[in-house]
Amino acid sequence: MQKISEFVAGLLFGLGLLLSGMTDPGKVLGFLDVSGHWDPSLALVMGGAILVGVFAFALAKKRTTSFLGGALHLPKASQIDRRLVVGSLLFGAGWGLAGFCPGPGLVSMFSGQPKAAVFVAAMVVGMILFEVADRYIHRPRALARGRT
């Protein structure tokens, strides 16, 4: 049951991204180009998603287990720190350069777009670079400060 639900979630998420237009970098960049010919579509994507999500997460916060009985993992981090801001700045810059964020990049690659595959490959390399850097640079310092 758990596995079916995971598969369906991945499938539905991909379908939602395709329907919404997020898998078209031209459309994403049209949204990010506020001072040019602005395409507000993606504001509706976010709005529609959050409209539904708000109720789901309000319900989730009241529970300790999922409806399938497993643990319910809600993020515990609440600090607004340099990692959050610098990371988001780098991500936003990359998003603005090509018009791909992680989900649409993957779906576009699965659609057979070679350019999306190049983006995803570079993204995975970036994630690995982060893992390596985090392991050897940040974690010892964070541990020294008593943070994990």
């Binding site: 916060k61 993020p75 990371g87 603005g96 350019k115």
Partner: protein, 145 residues
Amino acid sequence: MVIDWVNFTPWASLGGGIVLGLTAALFILLNGRVLGISGILGGLLSPRVGDIGWRLVFLLGMAAAPLVFAMLAPAGFLAAPRIDAGYGLLLAAGLLVGIGTRYGSGCTSGHGVCGLSRLSPRSLVATLTFMAAGFAIVFVARHLF
């Protein structure tokens, strides 16, 4: 600012957004996980025992999406994606997105959809920050050069 009415797709985008919201709802309520793509993918790169299978199954579902979409949607419903960036730019963009989403602990789905739905101030800051960076980069690329 001029609204680009030609490319504006209010109903498809709102509908797609609602599907994304329903999926995030399903995922947290049934599987107990926040649906964040960079986190799901990134977790595979520092694998822990018992924490791999669900990520792979989710990605497998995502991989099936284009085929299923093609079966469900009328022919020609989706315009061909416009990927204007060249390979060099795509490499740079991918690296930035990979490093940035892991360093900032989330992307458009984890912070943008789920975080804002959780009313998390941390995710609001992240979302405003990556949006602002996106707006700035596109402004520089399209209007200053």
